[in-house]
């Protein structure tokens, strides 16, 4: 039932999640090609100065939604879709992204991305919600799988299969989050590298890389800690078997000094490069 299958024509390159707190640091990174902005943090009025400046430097801007609740039982809200569409238009976005998650239930906000059950029924509702969103958006939609400490019982398929089915059925693009994959694999005891290959890598719009921390034997995908070596390893492994159009760093809290942020961006670029070399040689 693929409604529309978007071709991947946009090469994004190296990117970073734009936050007002790291605007100054990101402005120093000449190699940066795109930024991702949280759509809900952009008001109805003027765009933040840093985002305008980034556009003037020639950076692409990708709005990243966190409030559509595409995995929710309710259909996506009209006003939220209109806002996301308006942000996409105002920043001249090549695409927008959202999550395979629910963020509210029974009219109450979770304040966080919560996982959906990996069942046929949930997939059906997700496909419907995604189709409604695609209809309302002026640009292609990429979907991101989330990190989840809690899993619904009676899963009918694993995450890679669930995401592949969703992407195939909706024609949406994939926002592959390697930190989420790393976290889920570690916390739920499976092999991230093996699972990676079964994601629809040919549909990647771009890739998220974020930091986290191991606390009491549980890996927390916090985005407020440095990127761990295991995630950088996955970046290399991915780039050894695929050529993702963009790879970006996500840092949301406990912002480090500019030098650390730049070093993290360089470490990601190195991993992308190493993987690319292996792919070309193979």
């Amino acid at each position: 039932m693929a409604l529309r299958t978007y071709p991947i024509t946009t090469t994004l390159g190296a990117g970073a999640g734009w936050r007002p707190q790291i605007d100054g640091a990101l402005a120093q990174v000449a190699a940066l090609c795109f930024i991702e902005v949280i759509a809900e943090s952009i008001g109805a009025g003027a765009l933040p100065e840093g985002v305008v400046a980034a556009r003037e430097r020639g950076l692409r801007v990708v709005p990243h939604g966190i409030g559509l609740s595409l995995g929710g039982a309710e259909r996506p809200q009209r006003a939220r879709l209109e806002h996301l569409a308006s942000v996409a238009e105002r920043v001249g976005a090549p695409l927008v992204s959202e999550h395979i998650a629910f963020v509210r239930a029974d009219g109450r906000e979770a304040g966080h991305l919560l996982p959906v059950p990996r069942t046929r029924e949930a997939l059906e509702m997700l496909c419907e919600n995604v189709a409604i969103a695609q209809e309302a958006l002026p640009v292609p939609l990429a979907l991101e799988h989330v990190a989840a400490l809690v899993q619904w019982p009676s899963a009918e398929m694993d995450e890679a299969t669930f995401v592949r089915e969703l992407i195939e059925r909706t024609g949406a693009l994939l926002l592959l989050d390697l930190s989420n994959l790393y976290a889920n694999a570690l916390n739920h005891g499976y092999d991230a590298r093996e699972a990676l290959e079964r994601f629809p890598l040919e549909r990647i719009a771009y890739v998220h890389v974020g930091g986290g921390v191991l606390r009491d034997g549980v890996y927390h995908d916090t985005h407020s800690h440095p990127v761990v070596p295991g995630v950088l390893h996955l970046v290399e492994e991915l780039c050894a078997i695929a050529d993702p159009p963009g790879v970006m760093l996500e840092r949301d809290d406990d912002f480090p000094p500019a030098s650390e942020l730049i070093a993290e961006l360089e470490a990601i670029a190195t991993a992308v490069h190493r993987g690319g070399e292996r792919r070309v040689r193979a």
Binding site: A105, R108, G111, L114, R120, E124, V150, Q151, N187
Partner: protein, 157 residues
């Protein structure tokens, strides 16, 4: 494929959200230890969203902020909005009710928060403050004018 039952799904999601916030009574089939870790991560995340919107409160609580917010969210979370301003207000009032001394800066922050959350009508509150000098603070919300505040110094230093 049969038509999915959205209302039953909504109920299951609401049950999970409630259980995550309360930290107990997880629906059958969930691994309790993992669900508890997920609940505590969720409450921590909600607290971290509240803190920057309530700087005086965060400063006043210092290192105890996270633990206190966790205790608040376990009890009140199911009715909280997930938005920093109203959740911070509910948290501050919960602390007041529990007898936690919050100080003048937090009192002002609470008044400003209450005014900001008013959407219509006339609303006005008065507070006597000692720091940094004795003064009377009037905070309100008026039609057309929106949020207003006036500070009246009561004595010279």
């Amino acid at each position: 494929m049969s038509v999915p039952d959205r209302s039953a799904y909504a109920e299951r999601q609401a049950q999970l959200l409630d259980a995550l916030l309360r930290g107990d009574d997880f629906p059958p089939g969930f691994v309790a230890a993992r669900a508890e870790a997920a609940g505590s991560a969720l409450r921590r995340k909600r607290g971290r969203a509240v803190a920057p919107a309530w700087p005086a409160l965060a400063l006043c609580l210092g290192d105890t902020f996270a633990a206190r917010f966790d205790a608040f969210d376990r009890g009140a979370g199911a009715t909280a909005s997930g938005a920093p301003l109203p959740d911070g207000l509910a948290f501050a009032r919960w602390l007041e009710a529990a007898g936690v001394a919050l100080g003048d800066d937090v009192r002002v922050e609470i008044l400003l928060g209450r005014a900001a959350l008013r959407r219509h009508g006339v609303w006005m509150r008065l507070a006597f403050l000692r720091e940094p000098y004795p003064r009377l603070l009037v905070v309100g919300r008026l039609p057309f004018a929106g949020q207003v505040q006036r500070s009246l110094r009561l004595a010279e230093r």
